[in-house]
């Protein structure tokens, strides 16, 4: 969840909290594009009597901009509704859930998928009353979970697949250390005033789940004019992708316990690039950022051009980032970060690569679909690891976006716009310590990703993987 409780307001609304967005060309279906949007951060596997679900009262969307104006050209809308089959029971299930239509399963959720073409204002229902799989409860309730979960993969039509439901969290980050004043455990001995020894990173999202919406469809479904992206230099090959969640403007808690929602849907969460709102936008503007459309992101460009995190690194690690410190002092805007996050990288900067969508500054995942997927030994460092099929060219589920963005902020990408700049050696060495090498696509304590749709792994079972309640060491008296 690269965007998890990242804004004060949305932190109180997990069902609408957009945690990650992925967009990539699958290696096994290179004529397709996979779009994934996750919600509901820090989902413990164990639950009950109610388990994790999408909100029936939330409008979830995945947007595609295929002409570079920051405005969606195509939106895929997802609505959910929940039913009870055994309303007089207090239980989620009264026996084993042996299939997605099990009579033992009480509280069930269904999805409706709609494609909106904003140009023609045409709305096409792609699927209706699509059953979601249950949460992975345990060996008595969900004895053959993988079998039932696979029944939640729906063929909307030829070559168009849909899944929505619980998955294993795919994002990995040493969250406990990183948000402890920028502690990177492998280098924490160098942290200002530190008495801690260097140590391996800890995946703070170990054994957590997430609610995932996944779509896979032909690339031509989302390009301008149905263009088949074969030429990476053609601007029609690149799409901008982001997701959002919206709630109705008014909510009333009625006397009988019912909640009445009225009014149009208002956006309360959005996400394009990982960690954008998380680490670049000031805390007092994060909820406002969530309410805005990407086409208005010019108003936030200054936070990208002069990121606070870049200012902090030389302070937190004295003597480790002298070149970055000088760059900060110069006041020069970080044109590299502006390109990576807000416009895409134009042609001519990196040989053979571009994902530029034009001058409109908008936070989007920009995926050049004409760049073929890397089948053999992809790099989890994506483009800065020499793998143009990875982040920031879209985002694959195993890309180590935290390390990539930390290195970028620390200066490794600045030479792209200022060839005379030499990044600090430490900038290129930054790591969370959660992968064994650049080609490790199974980071520490992640459930192995699937090689096929819906790509995120089987969710952790509540019975086998309860929340890690091992207490921290007692503080000294």
């Amino acid at each position: 969840m690269s965007s998890h409780k990242e804004a004060p307001g949305i932190s109180f609304d997990p069902a609408a909290d957009n945690t990650d967005v992925y967009a990539f060309v699958p290696p096994n279906d290179s004529d397709d594009v996979a779009l994934i949007a996750n919600f509901l951060p820090f989902e413990d596997p164990a639950g009950g009597p109610n388990f994790y679900e999408f909100g029936d009262d939330v409008l979830y969307e995945i947007h595609v901009d295929n002409d570079g104006d920051g405005v969606p050209d195509i939106s895929f809308q997802f609505r959910f509704n929940t039913i009870y089959t055994i309303p007089d029971s207090f239980l989620y299930n009264v026996g084993p859930i042996e299939s997605i239509n099990s009579k033992n399963w009480n509280r069930r959720q269904f999805a409706t998928v709609t494609r909106v073409d904003h140009g023609s204002n045409k709305q096409t229902r792609m699927g209706h009353h699509l059953p979601l799989p249950p949460c992975n409860v345990g060996p008595f309730s969900t004895p053959d979970y993988v079998h039932v979960a696979n029944q939640g993969i729906h063929q909307l039509s030829k070559d168009r697949s849909f899944f929505a439901g619980q998955r294993a969290e795919g994002f990995y980050i040493d969250i406990g250390a990183i948000f402890d004043l920028g502690d990177l455990r492998p280098f924490q001995n160098l942290h200002v005033g530190s008495t801690l020894a260097a140590m391996p990173g800890v995946n703070g999202l170990k054994a957590l789940n997430v609610q995932s919406i996944a779509l896979q469809l032909p690339k031509t479904d989302v390009t301008r004019g149905g263009y088949n992206p074969k030429d990476s230099s053609d601007p029609r090959s690149t799409i901008g992708v982001w997701a959002s969640a919206s709630r109705q403007r008014s909510r009333v808690y009625d006397k009988d316990g019912e909640v009445i929602n009225t009014g149009p849907f208002v956006q309360v969460s959005r996400l394009g690039n990982p960690l954008f709102n998380e680490v670049l936008v000031p805390i007092t503007k994060k909820d406002y950022w969530n309410s805005q459309k990407p086409s208005h992101d010019k108003q936030f460009a200054s936070y990208v051009a002069h990121p606070e995190l870049a200012q902090l690194l030389p302070v937190l690690y004295p003597g480790v980032f002298p070149h970055l410190a000088n760059l900060n002092q110069s006041g020069k805007p970080r044109a590299d970060l502006l390109a990576i996050l807000l416009t895409g990288i134009p042609a001519g900067i990196i040989p053979g690569f571009q994902n530029y969508t034009g001058p409109v500054e908008a936070d989007q995942l920009r995926l050049n679909m004409a760049i073929p997927p890397t089948g053999n030994k992809p790099s989890n460092l994506g483009l800065i690891g020499g793998d143009p099929a990875g982040f920031p060219n879209g985002r694959r589920v195993f890309d180590d976006v935290t390390t990539i963005e930390l290195r970028a902020v620390a200066g490794v990408t600045y030479p792209l716009v200022a060839p005379g700049y030499t990044p600090d050696a430490a900038a290129g060495a930054i790591t969370q310590g959660l992968t064994s090498s650049n080609t490790d696509v199974n980071a520490k304590n992640t459930v192995h990703y699937l090689p096929k749709f819906p790509y995120l792994g089987t969710p952790h079972s509540g019975y086998y993987n309860p929340a890690n309640n091992v207490p921290a060491p007692a503080p000294p008296r």
């Binding site: 909100g55 029936d56 609505r79 509704n81 409706t112 709305q123 009445i260 009225t262 149009p264 849907f265």
Partner: protein, 93 residues
């Protein structure tokens, strides 16, 4: 005059706990679906919306009232009505 859409076009959005038998056929929602209503009191006619209606008065001095039902919102201007609603609200304080 802009009339609120008829009952047939609206679905009452229920809470998470409500049982829904079968699937609800929902027209794809549009973000911030708003319409400007008559600005003068007395011009509003037609059938009344049969369901929950929420009226939001941000500032009674401007007379702007957001009237919400289903997934739609109508912006209505009526200083007298807004002032009366504000006086009713003051009774609760």
């Amino acid at each position: 005059m802009t009339e609120l859409p008829s009952r047939r076009n609206f679905l009452r959005t229920a809470s998470l706990g409500a049982a829904v038998v079968g699937a609800a056929a929902v027209a794809p929602p549009s973000l911030a679906s708003t319409a400007q209503a008559a600005t003068s009191p007395g011009e509003v006619g037609g059938p009344a919306y049969d369901g929950a209606v929420t009226a939001y008065v941000r500032n009674h001095r401007t007379g702007e009232i957001s009237v919400m039902a289903g997934e739609h919102e109508v912006t209505y201007h009526d200083r007298d009505l807004a002032r009366r609603l504000a006086r009713i609200a003051a009774c609760g304080h």
